[in-house]
């Protein structure tokens, strides 16, 4: 067997293990943290500090009866969780855990990740459509609208980073970050995080499974292992988004003294905890407001970010980094304030004849 | 304090507006015949000096000879209240005109009376049983309804 195959196999196993284990830890962490935000201890029965709770949940989900609605489109219903789950796993292939420690160092890493991640939405729509349930369909329709629109600001916000490094390879981007790009690209980071939270359907953009409105959205009819896959998919997506944010904006595996993998995981956890914090605080937006936020607020902001970055690179390539950081942060606050004053939400009551 | 209207005075005012209606002023309520009820209610809301714009409570009670429909009215403008009643003597097939077009608040309460007393309200916007299912036999709040317990 050649080195290539050994490399591939070992990394696949490690990656798969890493994703599964960290998803379980994420689930535990989210429930504990949300609990603490809400003045309760969170799950604390299974194992010390409730650490075994996700495993207990996983076992429960595995041995549950698998129900398929009689009117469902069975083939699509079966395929949907897989179509949703596999792309998320594929995303991890191009994420560097340390210098060069990744499955493949693609020279178009970012492009690959973005391309693969947008396939997930097809799985979700398949689930919503095939369930033959009106709530599922509503959830699926919302997903399509939301995820397709948020791809654009997401990609545009990443372009700033690409312009700064001049490379699409994830490893190169990390290496280029002497100063984490969150300081050089604060606006880009803001847009990226907002858009990414909408991409992975976290509060306040969790419209597709809005519990108080459409019960569970696209996976209303799912149970057993198929539901488990969706659940896994959601958290793996959050993990991927946190990992990408870490790689692109927070300096990736770079850090003093300790092992790069430690730094990488610590930064991922930091981003994830922020996402949980937002989830614990904010209510949900309405579908038209989500769309307005994406198209009228994030899209112009990300375009402005692109233009400003281009100017900085072209006109003042030798400027002092500290000054640049100051300018960038000032520009971000100025633009966010300016835009939020001027954009109109629209929507509202529709007159019915 | 919400002042209760003086019923003889109210009767006089209404008889002047609507000559020929059967109306009776008791000590604590105004008794109107079912046929005139809708007209009286209309006047009660529209007359500027009375202006009973708020239907507080609309209910019924089953007595041996008749079913009584009781309106508890309020005027938010004048902070006054009045009780108007009507008696439906035909217990087999009681009916009267609906007042939903005057007070929207009567919609659900009339449905409730229809459901539990079997009083039919004409021109109601969607008169059907509200709590019990269609096909339930009998009207539970009538005294002749015998339940299991």
């Amino acid at each position: 067997m050649s080195d290539f195959w050994i490399h591939l196999l070992v990394y696949l196993v490690i990656l798969f293990g890493f994703v599964i284990v960290s998803v379980l830890i994420f689930i535990w962490l989210e429930r504990r943290l949300i609990g603490r935000f809400q003045l309760r201890p969170g799950p604390n029965r299974a194992g010390p500090f409730g650490l075994l709770q996700p495993i207990a949940d996983a076992i429960k989900v595995l041995i549950k009866e698998d129900i398929i609605p009689s009117e469902a489109d069975k083939g699509v219903f079966w395929l949907a969780p897989l179509v949703a789950f596999v792309p998320v796993m594929l995303m991890f292939a191009a994420i560097p855990f340390a210098d060069g420690v990744m499955l493949v160092d693609l020279n178009i890493g970012i492009l690959y990740i973005l391309a693969v991640s947008s396939v997930t939405v097809i799985g979700i729509f398949m689930a919503g459509w095939s369930s033959n349930n009106k709530y599922s369909l509503l959830g699926a329709m919302r997903t399509i609208a939301q995820e397709v629109s948020y791809e654009i600001p997401l990609v545009l916000s990443i372009l700033g980073v690409v312009m700064l490094t001049g490379s699409l390879s994830m490893n190169e981007i990390v290496k280029a970050q002497d100063v984490p790009f969150i300081l050089l690209q604060p606006l880009g980071f803001f847009v990226y995080l907002s858009a990414a939270m909408a991409e992975v359907n976290r509060t306040p953009f969790d419209l597709l499974e809005a519990e108080s409105e459409i019960i569970a959205g696209f996976h209303t009819e799912y149970s057993g292992m198929k539901f488990g896959l969706f659940y896994l998919m959601e958290y793996a997506e959050v993990l991927a988004v946190s990992a990408i944010a870490t790689t692109l904006f927070l300096g990736g595996w770079q850090g003093p003294l300790l092992h790069p993998v430690f730094w990488f995981i610590a930064k991922v956890l930091l981003v994830f905890m922020f996402i949980i914090w937002v989830r614990a605080t904010l209510p949900r937006l309405r579908i038209d407001q989500v769309m307005a936020f994406g198209w009228k607020f994030l899209l112009p902001l990300s375009l402005a970010n692109l233009v400003i970055t281009a100017f900085e690179i072209l006109i003042a390539p030798d400027i002092n980094t500290a000054v640049l950081i100051g300018i960038n942060i000032a520009v971000m606050f100025g633009l966010v304030l300016l835009f939020s004053r001027f954009y109109k939400l629209g929507g509202g009551r529709v007159s019915i004849k | 304090m919400t002042a209760v209207l003086d019923y003889p005075q109210l009767k006089a005012a209404l008889s002047k507006e609507l000559p020929g209606i059967k109306i009776q002023a008791d000590g604590s309520f105004l008794l109107v015949s079912p046929e005139d009820m809708h007209k009286v209610c209309e006047r009660l809301t529209s007359l500027p000096s009375i202006q009973m714009d708020y239907l507080t409570n609309l209910t019924a009670a089953d007595y041996p000879e008749y079913i009584e429909i009781i309106f508890h009215l309020n005027s938010i403008t004048h902070n006054t209240s009045a009780t108007v009643k009507t008696r439906l003597t035909d217990k087999k097939n009681p009916k009267m005109a609906s007042v939903v077009d005057i007070w929207r608040g009567a919609e659900l309460q009339e449905r409730e009376i229809y459901d539990l007393f079997g009083v039919f309200f004409e021109n109601h916007i969607g008169l059907k049983r509200i709590f019990l299912w269609e096909g339930f036999e009998g009207y539970p709040l009538r005294k002749d309804f015998v339940n299991g317990h």
Partner: protein, 183 residues
């Protein structure tokens, strides 16, 4: 009105508040291990009947709004009323306490402090011919005679019985929880 009002300022304020809550003690109770002292007047899921002091006046049976108390009395040879049969159906009881209030002796019937009466399933259902499921009675919930008396698990509650209330511990209150009000 700050610069940030309507542009994210409110969201930041809320996030600050939730962050503060992260460091406050939690308010929930870890139930089976940690139990609160209940109210002294607790109307738990028990009604306790003291056979010795009962004068068989049937006041409690009459006061019951749901007819859960079934008491049969007869006159003994000494012309005194005695209780032949006493049973309370806890499937019917709504724990309103009216029987306790109605008792003229004030020491024959009490509410109980217990509230842990759950079991996994009812094994003994009494069902007559032609009865619907809601009409049949679970025999385990019908307590008769001595089963209704006080015991270690059936502690007298102080509901309308000040003398019994004195023996009970003070109620734990969330208000008195430490580390919470020092904001």
């Amino acid at each position: 009105m700050s610069v940030l009002s309507n542009t994210g300022g409110g969201i930041l304020k809320g996030m600050r508040l939730t962050f503060k809550h992260l460091f406050r003690p939690w308010i929930t109770v870890q139930y089976p291990e940690e139990k609160l002292a209940m109210s002294k007047r607790i109307r738990g899921n028990q009604v306790i009947w003291v056979k010795e002091t009962c004068i068989a006046c049937l006041a409690c049976a009459r006061a019951c709004p749901v007819k859960a108390i079934n008491m049969e009395v007869s006159r003994g040879e000494d012309r005194k009323l005695k209780v032949d049969h006493m049973s309370i159906d806890f499937g019917l009881c709504i724990f309103c306490g009216l029987c306790v209030e109605s008792c003229p002796t004030k020491n024959a019937i009490y509410m109980g402090c217990g509230y842990e009466t759950t079991t996994y399933r009812c094994t003994n259902v009494e069902k007559a011919e032609g009865q619907s499921f809601s009409e049949c009675r679970c025999r385990e919930l019908i307590l008769t005679g001595d089963e209704l008396g006080p015991s270690e698990t059936r502690v007298l509650s102080g509901y309308d019985r000040p003398d019994a209330a004195e023996k009970l511990p003070l109620q734990t209150l969330l208000i008195n929880k430490k580390g919470y009000f020092e904001r």
